[in-house]
Symmetry: C2
Subunit: 241 residues, 2 copies
């Protein structure tokens, strides 16, 4: 099966959670908007989303074409891929638990995004800066400790899990938690310096995932876009601790 | 199977999307925090969430106990229940599509909630009112038309679907869209008066769901909490059109 991933070509964004799973599994996939040059790929993505061709149109990228299926919503894509790529438990209780954690990662992503866009995604950061300063303080002082603490607790509870979030082997949840730690270190370095001593298992998970051969090769490749000021994780020093 | 739903006892909130599915299906369920009196039920919910008893702790309500399973995240609960209550397609493509739509409903719910809480869930509305006024304008002018328009488009594309969002019969997505229309009419009556002519299929779906015997009986019962100023849908006239 050759998968086709449709996502914005110049940011990690939500698509990165899918890319990490495909890369770790060594899956055969095409990052459509990047392969065909930004202009062409973007045009194809928009045409697909808004055109008359799909009976089940996605609301927004990322979406994944897998044979005759077109699947949108990041956590839904990972739910579908997890079983096929060996990155989730096979039995239903474990699959539901992995998905539940991924949806909580999604909640955290919304909070991170909204630190710099608390009013409107369609406005520039500079046009919602006073609100961003307020929301970011709530994030660094309340939400980030609370949500990172929750995932730390999940790792602690998974006795015998050898440091994995779900069961005893690597899942897409571990990959997503790696990305969260990496992104927060980019966007909120001072906050992370303060919080990391309280979340040793998450920090350790991040390091271990980064050293998996598939992920290490990906991170060293040109396929891994650098963090930048257009994605979910942005570094505005005034929003940090 | 007797299901146990754990959710805040005095609001519809996210729990309502689960209640509607259980009620429509005539499922055997207990709304734990409400049955045992607010104090006792709330204590049990908090004890479960924060106590040492669960290896797979939920981050927040709602969560559902189904035999030995404890499932959290609204869309995940509906994904689990849908197959069992006859409120979702049985085959994987249809299940994924229903879940994808439900996750987009979740995106809309976040936008609705954040109109009155754009800065912090832990602050009163009155303490984030200027920001709320700005975010609500973005909601009524951009996000609500965009997302409601998307669901209208989905209904239109589902040719032969007899007015349902997914396939040819009632699903939990229809129930959730009913709740969205009902809640927005409560919270944003002026906006809905303006938008409803553009979303005739959604309006019609709302009316049809309200008349289903299971739902009509539920809505007429004391089990249906009224909308109020503590839930997701709130009526602050200054945030409306």
């Amino acid at each position: 099966m050759r998968y086709e991933l449709f996502y914005w070509p110049s940011i990690q964004g939500r698509g990165e959670f899918v890319r990490l799973a495909l890369e770790q599994a060594g899956a055969d996939y095409v990052d459509v908007a990047r392969r065909r040059g930004h202009g062409l790929g973007m045009a194809e993505m928009t045409r697909l989303m808004e055109g008359p061709g799909l009976d089940r149109p996605p609301f927004a990228p990322p979406f994944l074409r897998a044979g005759r299926l077109m699947i949108a919503q990041t956590a839904n894509i990972l739910h579908y891929l997890g079983a096929r790529l060996g990155l989730a438990p096979k039995a239903e209780p474990g699959r539901l638990w992995a998905h539940q954690l991924q949806l909580t990662v999604e909640d955290l992503i919304v909070d991170i995004h909204d630190t710099h866009h608390p009013i409107a995604a369609s406005l520039y950061y500079e046009d919602q800066r006073p609100e961003a300063l307020r929301r970011a303080r709530f994030f660094t002082e309340e939400r980030a400790p609370e949500l990172l603490g929750y995932f730390e607790h999940v790792l602690e509870r998974n006795r015998g899990g050898r440091g994995h979030a779900v069961g005893r082997s690597l899942s897409y949840v571990d990959l997503s938690l790696f990305q969260i730690v990496a992104g927060l270190r980019y966007g909120f370095p001072a906050m992370m310096e303060r919080l990391e001593p309280r979340i040793p298992r998450l920090v350790e998970l991040h390091g271990r995932v980064a050293q998996r051969p598939g992920i290490a090769a990906y991170l060293a490749s040109a396929r891994r876009l650098p963090f930048n000021q257009n994605g979910i994780f942005r570094h505005y020093p005034e929003l940090d601790d």
